[in-house]
């Protein structure tokens, strides 16, 4: 490689690293405890709660919905999700004419209809997640951090290009401890970069993809989802809707073997004006991160479509576990933490 070429790549490597390094340091510091969010919140937020009737028959989803909406007259249902560890159904409702983004979230004990305590994150972990995700700046913050992630990937690629010229006469792992500090630190830098490249590249690329979550989902809704429901016109009012239980059963029949994740009601962000969108995910380590919605006609209860996720949404779904490292048990999490340590 010619000297001029090496100089150019060195410039790319230096500046892409320098521009992003402060933000990457912040991401490492906040990301480290986030790897253990589940464990930390288990310790800090342990809540003893028992369902109202352990052996009793559970309320139907329609009954749970009726109970939830009776506590907020005038509101309409937006989402319904299902607690994986407790017999609790979470109903999110919204005032039709209220300010955007203001919801009421009600965990309902499915055995009794009584309110259940919400499972919320610890304030410190919520703070760290917000800082890590978007610097408390919403979408602009996410996109900015995505740009820093791109800088990181550029630094990694340029580092690989520069590795050979700088290591062409040195065996792998050489650290010239007797030389000047600058030489010694360069050797440490090259060694660390060479051994951690795969992990840093995966975390960096998936981090960039995660920052695009909002535009990806918006694009999916505006294209693939809209195509599926183009034939439907008038919205379905709450009083005209088919049974929610029947809708969920119909969806489950269309997607056997998948696990119910949540329901988006007509008019909400993740559905259309005419459908219940019943979201499922798989039960294998890979497919548990893949979401598939079944669209049920809210008026008739008939299956309208099963919307298989396009490649870009699947990529987003896979980027989340690969970025946070919380999918392979405690051993993988510990390694993630050791590799994250700045």
């Amino acid at each position: 490689m010619r000297t001029r070429t090496i100089r150019a790549w060195s410039g790319v490597h230096k500046w892409s690293s320098l521009i992003s390094t402060v933000f990457l340091l912040m991401l490492c510091i906040t990301g480290l405890p986030l790897v253990f969010t589940h464990e930390i919140e288990e310790v800090l937020l342990h809540q003893q709660w028992e369902p109202g009737r352990q052996d009793g028959e559970r309320l139907s989803l329609d009954q749970v919905l009726e109970v939830a909406l009776s506590r907020h007259p005038g509101e309409v249902a937006a989402f319904m999700s299902f607690d994986e560890d407790r017999p609790v159904v979470n109903v999110t409702s919204v005032a039709p004419d209220g300010p955007a983004g203001v919801y009421n979230f009600q965990p309902i004990d499915q055995t009794s209809g009584e309110a259940a305590p919400p499972v919320s994150g610890h304030p410190v972990m919520e703070f760290l997640l917000q800082l890590h995700t978007d610097l408390f700046l919403g979408l602009p913050g996410m996109l900015f951090l995505g740009a820093m992630g791109v800088m990181l990937v550029v630094a990694l690629v340029s580092g690989v290009v520069l590795y050979a010229p700088f290591m062409r006469r040195l065996p792998f792992g050489t650290v010239r401890a007797s030389k000047a500090a600058r030489t010694r630190w360069l050797d440490y830098h090259n060694l660390l970069g060479a051994v951690t490249l795969a992990w840093v590249l995966v975390v960096g690329v998936t981090g960039v993809v995660n920052t695009l979550a909002t535009p990806i989902i918006a694009f999916w809704k505006d294209t693939a989802l809209k195509e599926l429901t183009a034939a439907y016109d008038a919205p379905v009012e709450a009083g005209e809707r088919a049974s929610l239980d029947a809708a969920v059963r119909r969806a489950q029949a269309a997607l056997p073997g998948m696990r119910l994740q949540f329901v988006a009601f007509p008019g909400s962000d993740y559905s259309t004006d005419h459908h219940y969108a019943v979201f499922f995910h798989g039960d294998t380590p890979l497919t548990t991160h893949m979401t598939t919605p079944a669209l049920i006609d809210a008026r008739t209860g008939d299956l309208a479509a099963v919307a298989s996720m396009p490649w870009y949404v699947k990529t987003l779904s896979l980027s989340q576990p690969l970025h946070f490292g919380d999918y392979g048990g405690l051993g993988l999490k510990i390694l993630w933490a050791l590799l994250t340590s700045p």
Binding site: Y163, A164, M167, R168, R169, L170, P171, F172, G173, T174, V175, A177, S178, L191, L192, A194, V195, T196, L197, A198, W199, V202, T284, P285, L286, L318, P321, L322, Y327, G328, G329, G331, L332, I334, L335, L338, L339
Partner: protein
């Protein structure tokens, strides 16, 4: 390159092996559960093992 320069495999051999092992561990643990959680962690751990081994046993 001069005659003193190392060949491609001498320069990139170990990094490539570590890259493949790490990536296999990361993806394997995502695709499979149970035993692969530990296999994945071990494979990813080869990076830290290589780092520690190199630093401890390097010529001074």
């Amino acid at each position: 390159m001069s005659r003193k320069d190392l060949g491609f495999l001498s320069i990139f051999g170990v990094p490539i092996i570590l890259f493949v092992l790490s990536l296999t561990g990361l993806i394997g643990a995502l695709l499979q559960d149970g035993l692969w959680d530990w296999v994945g962690a071990v494979l990813l751990g080869t990076t830290l093992l290589a780092l520690a081994t190199t630093l401890i046993f390097r010529k001074r």
